[in-house]
Symmetry: C2
Subunit: 236 residues, 2 copies
């Protein structure tokens, strides 16, 4: 068994929470009460594509520092006319945008984290905002010890500052922290900074026709099909 | 009842945890196993005085950014010869310094926080470090939603950046956040930035002869004798 690990940092969107199903279910139910006939699956698949270009604009200095909440809200405002959402009042648009605070965990996430929390410090390491991640944790019962994220470091993944900053704040050396993610790229960056790596397979994060991250692309320190397997592999 | 509050930020040392008794008890028990005849009460009362001057040196730029762990370790190394601690090995000195990660809550802290957590986001707002506060929370069962502290903002209280930064990361306006502290000064600064204020009386934080903070110095929004009274006052 891999030893010497003191803390685990978790990518959150896709790795811990099932953002796509959560948003489709949440907004479908809410939309029904409002009589909105919107294809929320198409909506969320388009909305999610705003995420990386938004972070890139911040990274290049084209936009000032912007939270993920702010990035999704800009995108929502831009998409609203095409989806017939521009007739909604501000409170409704705010409610839609806040769906990222109401995402639900994959079924194995909470029991796995509860086991891991007994042995390790467990922290988010997400590009989401502090309040987004904290509200999500309350909503879904995620037992984080620490919330670390892009907003804390004013850097989004995969900037080195966020990985190395998290290691420092957790009071560890890089090899004492394992980055856990369902995304090979995230683990590649973590490994390049000396962190340990745990891959958890989430083959339906992007829906039934997902093409990426269907398997471990490198010999990560742990490869697991869910958080239960991860906990077992780490002796938790 | 005061309304419109979404999040509570807590001073931690003295307000949530009884640092002085915790350290005396922890190091007395440990010292006994090592055959050390040290007056730990005198020791901790001197040690604690290193805290504010250390932060001031960081604030003035005389020292580079230094964690609270680092400030106490510098002080410990300076005091060691006078207390006969300079004969100890590095592992023992490290163990002594890490006592700040092992502080225990006042008896009312955990049940009060559990009630408050159901209604509000609850966060530390301490000058302690992230890992110190996270380890302390695990050790004492403190159910924080978020760990915010000097290390996150690279500013110690009472710099404005830490109060205003916490309000922003909690996704709130200042009047939606209540600062909770056993220290009138902390509340004065929080109020000056538009935050709500909750005073909790901790008349023995500095031992039986404490002279300061024995009562509320202003008309704080809530004045309570413990966290149970605070929770009741906030309808939690």
């Amino acid at each position: 068994m891999i030893s010497g690990i003191k803390a685990l940092t978790f990518d959150t969107f896709g790795t811990v929470v099932d953002w796509r199903s959560s948003i489709i279910n949440d907004l479908s139910a809410w939309g029904k009460t409002r009589g909105l006939a919107i294809d929320w699956t198409t909506f969320v698949d388009e909305w999610k594509t705003a995420y990386k270009p938004g972070m890139d604009k911040v990274r290049k200095g084209e936009w000032p520092w912007t939270t993920i909440d702010g990035i999704y809200r800009r995108a929502l405002d831009g998409m609203a006319p095409r989806y017939g959402l521009d007739q909604l009042d501000e409170a409704s648009l705010h409610h839609i945008n806040r769906v990222w605070h109401r995402l639900l965990p994959w079924p194995d996430s909470v029991p796995g984290l509860q086991r891991l929390k007994k042995k390790f410090l467990i922290s988010t390491l997400s590009n989401g905002d502090v309040d987004m991640l904290a509200n999500m944790a309350k909503h879904g019962g995620l037992p984080w010890d620490v919330i670390l994220c892009g907003q804390v470091f004013r850097h989004f993944k995969p900037d080195p500052e966020i990985y190395l900053g998290a290691v420092e704040m957790l009071g560890c050396k890089p090899h004492e922290v394992m980055m856990v993610a369902a995304h090979n790229d995230d683990l590649r960056h973590a490994r390049s900074h000396g962190m340990r790596t745990g891959f958890v397979l989430r083959p339906t994060e992007y829906g039934p026709r997902q093409q990426t991250n269907l398997k471990a692309a490198e010999d990560w320190d742990v490869v697991a099909k869910d958080f239960g397997e991860l906990a077992t592999a780490l002796g938790a």
